[in-house]
């Protein structure tokens, strides 16, 4: 029986459902000291005298360190792995600031104590003199350099990055255009809010020199390398384990100050050191998502056929460059033409520092921003041309016979077929009925405004071909590794370099291997997220795990099967070419009684008593797969909103998504990824946004104030899919982790604008909160 393509229930669930799973803070570590972080309350300040004496005298406190003292212990700068231009400016980013705090939440001292409560108490007793400096909060203000974010910088600009393959063609298109759309969109900062806060435990072995790091991270392998590079610990002495990890969404794709501090202090004290983030700390010091001002222009002919797109971004880096901060806007840089065949292309991004926490990867990372800009601009064009949103899209889609498609930004879209997802989504949403209802409400003068919004998105994921990463100056490759070994008793271990934190790799990888080897998925164990067990890996982010890691698993399994076939042929005294493999057994074609089960072949490979000459014992294979291209999922989302004119309240009444992620190994998991991903994009559109005042203070640093949606606000989702297999990998798969987020914010905001269009409202900044919507309606009415 084939399990690939079925909604197989997850193997991960029982231990998560029973409380048996261990997250970092759950680990019982004898004798561990607790780290506490003293954080700057000022967004920008010179650090004066730090008085640690009161804190040091408190019960259980082992030590208090200032930044300067930690430098003496060998504390070096945190790494940024992505120098996007040769002249990119990066302020030195010490885990604990020494002379200047550059955002509210920047660490200025640390406490080491016997318990978490004692560490917390002592943090409150560390007295720091701050000389407040003017903070830079606004991106356009940052661009003027009137005030500098760091006193030792000469400009707030980190870099300017351009992608303009043919500048003359762009100018020509705009000069000849009938319609010229100019829009400005604000991508507010988002607080990722994985339900498990960050956490780390470092256990040193002072005599041997080894250190073991348990971290709530998406990237145990990259963290291992970076700990070695940052702390001088020999890489072969570093073991990183990501135990159960409670969600990441990009915010755990990083190397954080606390991880490095725990390493330094565990080595210094010679005992384990641990730290668990509090939720307020997460809001203040974990990376944030988005943070862009987007200017987008479209040139179009009289029929609304788009001839050029020009996007200019101001991208908020925050106060420092974290691991991949500067590269995030570039992950969207190639997608500002969206799903449309637009010949002339211009993209410019100016990365700017502000006195706010660093930005970095957050679900979609650059691509939701791109799809938002182009999809909202297409609606603006539809209004200008006087056609429906679906019609403007149909006129501009890259035609289905154009794939593989050489994109104007220089990518090759391996596959695509966009219009069927639009057709199906509109059918499921019942577009004609909705438009009828909308008209009726308008005719009646109802105070309820119905809006229908579309978004057809494409993304590039499956990060990433190593050579492409090289061309973008990224500091590493994009391959993935897998080892598949059949044990003597016929069960299988799959070792993957991906690092799941909710995505269900143990289940999905088992499904792939079970079908290839003809065995029960329960006879397969997937090992991951421990660098001593899965030595090679590039971890999980960028919707890469299945397309790259799953492909590596598939290829390694093929090698195991090939070796098993050779051994079986030897045992059955037949030619390997004459063997059929079915339901887990090799049979000699035409002699059905001559057969051997693959489990028995595994035992023979283990005993090695009678193997073909020159063959190595054991059934095991390792593959490192470097993808030849990205993969390009796509789909059409439809949001239906009702807006109450009297309160400004928006109710998301219905949500339809028709996505194409190629072949689906487990449609249940695909749907689950979409549900969560869509709601995160909806949340950007309607509820979430880090609210900073002009001095750089965060006004919603808790989950009581930052509006992560609950079940009350979430809609019921209607999902369907089309299947356009990716020709890039043998599984024909793409990615689905970020697709929902990439499609949803634009669909919702297009619905909001559709609802309010008759009032003359053409833009509302996200999040479209009731007070903003109400104010916009009042202004339009007056």
């Amino acid at each position: 029986m084939t399990v690939t393509g079925t909604r197989m229930l997850r193997k991960e669930d029982p231990e998560l459902l029973s409380g048996e799973a261990r997250y970092v803070d759950d680990l019982p570590i004898t004798g561990a000291l607790w780290l506490g972080i003293v954080r700057s309350p000022c967004a920008h300040a010179r650090i004066g005298t730090i008085d640690t004496s009161a804190a040091e005298a408190m019960p259980g406190v082992k030590a208090v360190y200032t930044g300067a003292q930690l430098v003496e212990l060998g504390m070096g700068a945190l790494p940024c792995a992505w120098a996007v231009t040769e002249d990119m400016v990066a302020p030195e980013h010490l885990p604990v600031a020494v002379s200047e705090a550059a955002f509210a939440g920047d660490a200025v001292a640390v406490v080491v104590a016997e318990s978490r409560y004692q560490a917390r108490d002592a943090c409150g007793a560390v007295e720091v003199d701050y000389e407040t400096l003017t903070a830079v909060v606004d991106l356009e203000a940052a661009a003027t350099d009137a005030v500098l974010t760091h006193t030792d910088l000469t400009s707030n600009t980190s870099y300017v990055w351009e992608l303009i393959p043919d500048p003359d063609a762009v100018e020509r298109a705009f000069s000849e255009a009938t319609h010229h759309i100019r829009e400005r969109y604000i991508q507010q900062r988002l607080i990722p809010s994985a339900m498990e806060p960050r956490g780390v435990v470092v256990v040193p072995q002072p005599q041997g020199g080894e250190i073991t790091i348990w971290s709530a991270t998406q990237i145990p392998h990259i963290l291992k390398l970076m700990v070695a590079a940052t702390t001088g610990t020999p890489e072969h002495k570093v073991r990183v384990i990501a135990p159960s990890v409670g969600g990441g969404f990009g915010c755990k794709l990083n190397v954080y100050a606390e991880e490095i501090l725990a390493v330094i202090l565990a080595k210094h004290h010679g005992v384990p050191v641990r730290w668990t983030e509090e939720r307020t700390e997460a809001a203040l010091s974990t990376i944030q998502g988005r943070g862009q001002v987007q200017d987008i222009e479209l040139a179009a002919d009289a029929d609304g056929k788009v001839t050029a797109v020009r996007a200019k971004l101001l991208a908020d880096m925050g106060a420092y460059l974290q691991l991949v901060t500067p590269g995030i806007p570039l992950l969207g840089a190639f997608l500002y033409h969206g799903v449309y065949d637009i010949p002339a292309y211009s993209f410019t991004c100016q990365g700017l520092f502000t006195n706010l926490p660093p930005t970095d990867a957050y679900r979609g990372a650059g691509r939701p921003e791109a799809s938002y800009a182009i999809e909202r601009a297409m609606d603006a064009l539809a209004r200008e041309v006087g056609v429906t949103p679906e019609e403007i899209r149909r006129r501009n889609y890259i035609p289905s016979d154009a794939f593989p498609y050489d994109s104007p930004a220089g990518l090759v879209f391996d596959s695509g077929n966009y219009e069927p997802t639009l057709d199906r989504a509109l059918e499921l949403a019942g577009l004609d009925d909705l438009r009828g209802e909308q008209q009726r409400l308008r005719d009646e003068g109802s105070t309820t405004h119905l809006g229908i919004g579309l978004c057809t998105y494409v993304e590039m994921c499956g990060l990433a071909p190593s050579r492409v990463l090289a061309s973008l100056n990224y500091g590493a490759g994009g391959w993935e590794s897998a080892t598949v070994r059949m044990l003597p008793t016929g069960s299988v271990q799959v070792v993957t370099g991906t690092s799941p934190h909710g995505q269900g790799h143990e289940t999905t990888w088992s499904q792939i291997v079970a079908d290839q080897l003809g065995i029960d998925p329960d006879a397969i164990e997937v090992l991951h997220s421990d660098t001593a067990i899965a030595a090679l890996g590039m971890d999980s982010y960028g919707s890469r795990s299945l397309a790259v890691g799953g492909t590596a698993v598939h290829m390694a399994t093929d090698l195991v099967l090939e070796k098993a076939r050779a051994i079986a042929a030897h045992q059955l005294e037949a030619s390997a070419d004459d063997l059929e493999f079915e339901e887990g057994s090799f049979r000699v074609r035409g002699s059905p009684d001559k057969s051997v089960a693959i489990g028995d072949v595994a035992m023979a490979a283990f005993t090695a008593h009678d193997l073909p000459d020159g063959m190595e014992p054991n059934l095991s294979a390792q593959v490192t797969y470097d993808p030849p291209n990205f993969v390009f999922p796509f789909g059409t989302h439809v949001a239906v909103v009702e807006i109450d004119e009297e309160t400004g309240d928006i109710r998301l009444r219905d949500y339809v998504a028709v996505d194409d992620c190629g072949n689906q190994i487990n449609p249940m998991i695909v749907d689950g990824q979409l549900h969560g991903g869509i709601l995160q994009g909806v949340a950007q559109a309607l509820w979430e946004g880090a609210a900073y005042d002009e001095d750089g203070n965060l006004n919603n640093a808790s989950l009581a104030d930052y509006l992560v949606p609950s079940a009350m606000e979430a809609p019921t989702f209607t999902l369907d899919s089309t299947v356009t297999p990716s020709p890039t990998n043998p599984l024909g798969v793409k990615g689905i982790g970020e697709a929902g987020t990439i499609g949803s914010a634009a669909a919702v905001m297009n619905a909001v604008i559709d609802a309010l269009g008759p009032l003359g409202i053409t833009d509302i900044d996200m999040p479209a909160s009731p007070n903003k919507v109400w104010a916009a309606i009042q202004e339009a009415r007056s």
Partner: protein, 156 residues
């Protein structure tokens, strides 16, 4: 101060700091780490347990306030390796991904069903408002709770 509680059917007495939160008592003193901490404002519900059968966010309560009470945590819900019907419903409906909110969500759902026998979808959503999940979009959680309730009309 001494606190005497019954946790998952077993009596325990411990000397604790008066300010110790119940969730930290359960996790750090009793070693029951299935109950998670997701915030510091009693907003997320990851720490939900049952106190005398009713759901309580265990970060809103001091350990000493639980003196003399019966507490059930996620570890006490299953019958050996046989999952509780609510746990089973979460499994069968893919109502969890990273699993971090799951123990609290399951406990809140168990309590919700105890309190109401005529839940519709809106009632489930309202009843779980105090428990946040970042992975599932709630669609399958609502479906699981409806299934456990034996109700019809949940998300497709």
């Amino acid at each position: 101060m001494d606190v005497s509680v019954t946790v998952n059917g077993a009596a325990a007495t411990d000397d604790v700091e008066p300010r110790l939160l119940l969730v930290h008592y359960l996790r750090d003193v009793r070693g029951l780490t299935g109950t998670n901490v997701g915030c510091d404002t009693s907003s997320c519900g990851a720490c939900t347990v049952l106190v005398n059968g009713e759901s309580v966010k265990s970060c809103t309560m001091l350990a000493v306030q639980a003196d003399g009470q019966e507490i059930t945590t996620i570890e006490g819900l299953a019958n050996g390796t046989e999952l509780h019907p609510m746990q089973q419903a979460f499994h069968e409906n893919h109502a969890l991904q990273c699993g971090y909110c799951t123990p609290g969500m399951v406990m809140a759902a168990v309590s919700l069903l105890e309190e109401h026998d005529d839940l519709d979808e809106a009632g489930v959503r309202e009843g779980l408002e105090g428990n946040l999940c970042r992975c599932t979009g709630y669609h399958n959680i609502v479906k699981a709770v409806m299934a456990a309730a034996g109700a019809k009309g949940g998300p497709a």
